[in-house]
């Protein structure tokens, strides 16, 4: 049994789906946010696997750039969480429903 690229892609799809589930089910903004990071990791795995299969280095470069973007997102996202925590003393997203309709 040889590991084919398809295995990696299926694994990535599974991780991405679990990430989606995490966003939908968790109340804690931080864990929701971790789930999004998980999704980005899954995408990166897809990029690198495809890159390998097709012999295209672009896939790896793309993964690098995604990491840069993800790092920025983390910094800003955590800052937002901290700011929310300052005004509400909680990171529970269910309490963030003052605006609706």
């Amino acid at each position: 049994m040889i590991v084919t690229t398809t295995w990696f892609l299926l694994l990535a799809a599974a991780l991405f789906s679990i990430g989606v589930a995490g966003v939908l089910i968790r109340r804690n903004a931080l864990v929701m946010f971790m789930s999004i990071e998980l999704m980005l990791n899954a995408v990166n795995l897809t990029f690198v696997a495809v890159s390998r299969e097709l012999g295209l280095i672009e896939g790896q470069v793309a993964a690098l750039f995604v990491m840069v973007v993800a790092a920025t997102e983390v910094t800003v996202g955590l800052a937002i969480v901290v700011a929310v925590f300052r005004t509400r003393a909680s990171a529970n997203v269910d309490e963030l429903a003052e605006m609706k309709g």
Partner: protein, 176 residues
């Protein structure tokens, strides 16, 4: 064969870690689950001959990003109460259905042929060495590489703008 075993082990670790992250009531445990996923993915990168990406994955994600997460969890306190309490009764079932549906959609789409891209574009014996990636990164992608200056500036400014508090200025802005 060895590759296969390594893949299976770390795929399992990644999946368990991911599920653990989603299910663990304590955010710190979630963070540990995510850490496990990230390490396993780094291993997969090595299997895929993407050495540089593997290294960066460990340094940036497992190192910097996870540290930040844990730091913020500690800063705002560990809140374990009703970690994934449902808003509506069947929320858990619905979430599972959506996630399964998503996976099914991708799996169905890829059923037989996951990669249809023309191999003619590719270069043989691809290896993600530092040199190969650097050639590409500082050649074709140079402009894009430079453009990430924006992202870094934004990250710095965002942190200052949002999380750096002057108690004196808060009042009148909020009331403005």
């Amino acid at each position: 064969m060895a590759e296969t075993i390594v893949f299976i082990i770390f795929a399992a670790v990644a999946l368990v870690g991911a599920v653990w992250m989603v299910m663990a009531p304590n955010p710190v445990h979630s963070a540990i689950g995510l850490l496990a996923v990230m390490f396993s993915i780094a291993v997969h990168y090595v299997i895929l001959d993407a050495h540089l990406i593997a290294a960066v994955q460990v340094i940036i994600y497992a190192g910097a990003v996870m540290t930040l997460f844990v730091f913020v969890i500690m800063l705002i306190g560990v809140d374990t109460a009703d970690a994934y309490g449902p808003q509506v009764p069947i929320q858990r079932a619905m979430t599972a259905a959506v996630a399964a549906g998503f996976f099914a959609a991708i799996a169905l789409a890829g059923r037989v042929v996951w990669i249809t891209g023309s191999a003619a574009f590719g270069r043989p014996n691809l290896s993600g060495t530092v040199e190969a990636v650097a050639d590409e990164l500082f050649g074709t992608w140079m402009v894009v590489f430079l453009s990430t200056i924006m992202l870094l500036t934004i990250a710095a400014m965002g942190t200052i703008a949002l999380a750096y508090f002057h108690e004196d200025s808060t009042e009148d802005e909020a009331s403005a």
